[in-house]
Chain length 210, copies 2
Amino acid sequence: MARSSLPPGRIVPAGSNNDARGRLLDAAAQLFTEFGYEGTAVTRIAKAAGMTPANMYWHFPSKQDLLAEMLTQMYAWSHEYLVTRLPADGDPTTRLAAYVRAMVHIQIEALSESGNHSYLTLATSLEPKRREELAKQQRQFLVILKEILEDGSTAGVFALRDITVTTFAILQMCEYSFLWFRSGGRLTVEEVEDEYVALALRLVGAAPQE
Amino acid sequence: MARSSLPPGRIVPAGSNNDARGRLLDAAAQLFTEFGYEGTAVTRIAKAAGMTPANMYWHFPSKQDLLAEMLTQMYAWSHEYLVTRLPADGDPTTRLAAYVRAMVHIQIEALSESGNHSYLTLATSLEPKRREELAKQQRQFLVILKEILEDGSTAGVFALRDITVTTFAILQMCEYSFLWFRSGGRLTVEEVEDEYVALALRLVGAAPQE
């Protein structure tokens, strides 16, 4: 199920998995985001994927396995989306702009069709050990951003205060953009991305890109 | 249970409620944040509060009632903490600094003793109608911040881009500070507050307060 490219405008490609395992993951993603982890019965997931519970258990021995795999895939997709959009040899300002644009895009596109439960909320339903594994995956997004900030600081194009606090501030500002963005609202996705890029450049003390 | 002042360094004053209702709310807050809403049996809450389940149901007919009241109180306390720290007639820069300082303080102090489940996560376990009620309460924090930004823009001390996006960016940057702050780490609570104030002033395009 490795993907070399992502469908435009949708991070988690629902319906694109035609094998049984993929159909179960799609069904789980849809039901978990709508009804929450606890609010989704495993039998319902099996039914939505068009198979028997016994068949489902063959692929995923527990609901925890389904949740863990669904979240792991989501973060793997997001990570791939991000890194393919980061110019490897760009200057720090260009890389920061690309990072923010991709992260905001991931958040507001990936969550636009989901219901009440974000991936961040669902992750709290994971057993401690699985949550630790996922946290390692999530940390990659932080590491990439911190590296960009360090490069910009070294090159003298960013006037940073505390690099760690600034890294978290930018990440969290972007990560929770889905909480307020409404498709079809005042701003288009691209305009929202533009705004967040401008805000991030302010946070690092860089000259704005006009 | 109205409070005219808050205990220093603790937003949700666990153990300060000596009546049965208060003891139940304290017990619920502790257990929900440690084990989650679904992971906490009502009988366990009653036991922790030193009473029988029947006695508990007399005060709170359902676990949803307990959760809703606990969250409502938490946001009411936070709101009171915030407004008592906002200088009513201060200039926009001073008010923004006070706002950010209070919000970061609320987040990292209120969450410092809690476990795996934040109030934001717990709120997703509320029934839709109760969640709407809570959202109204949460929106107050946004309204206060937006007003400060509008005043600063009108007064010409803030050079804002999009006022709505900037409002959300500041709020979310502060709101999720608890995700990374560790007590006893490199920075003190006050130093973290200072950093966030400086970042917020950058976001609104204000002259830094040194």
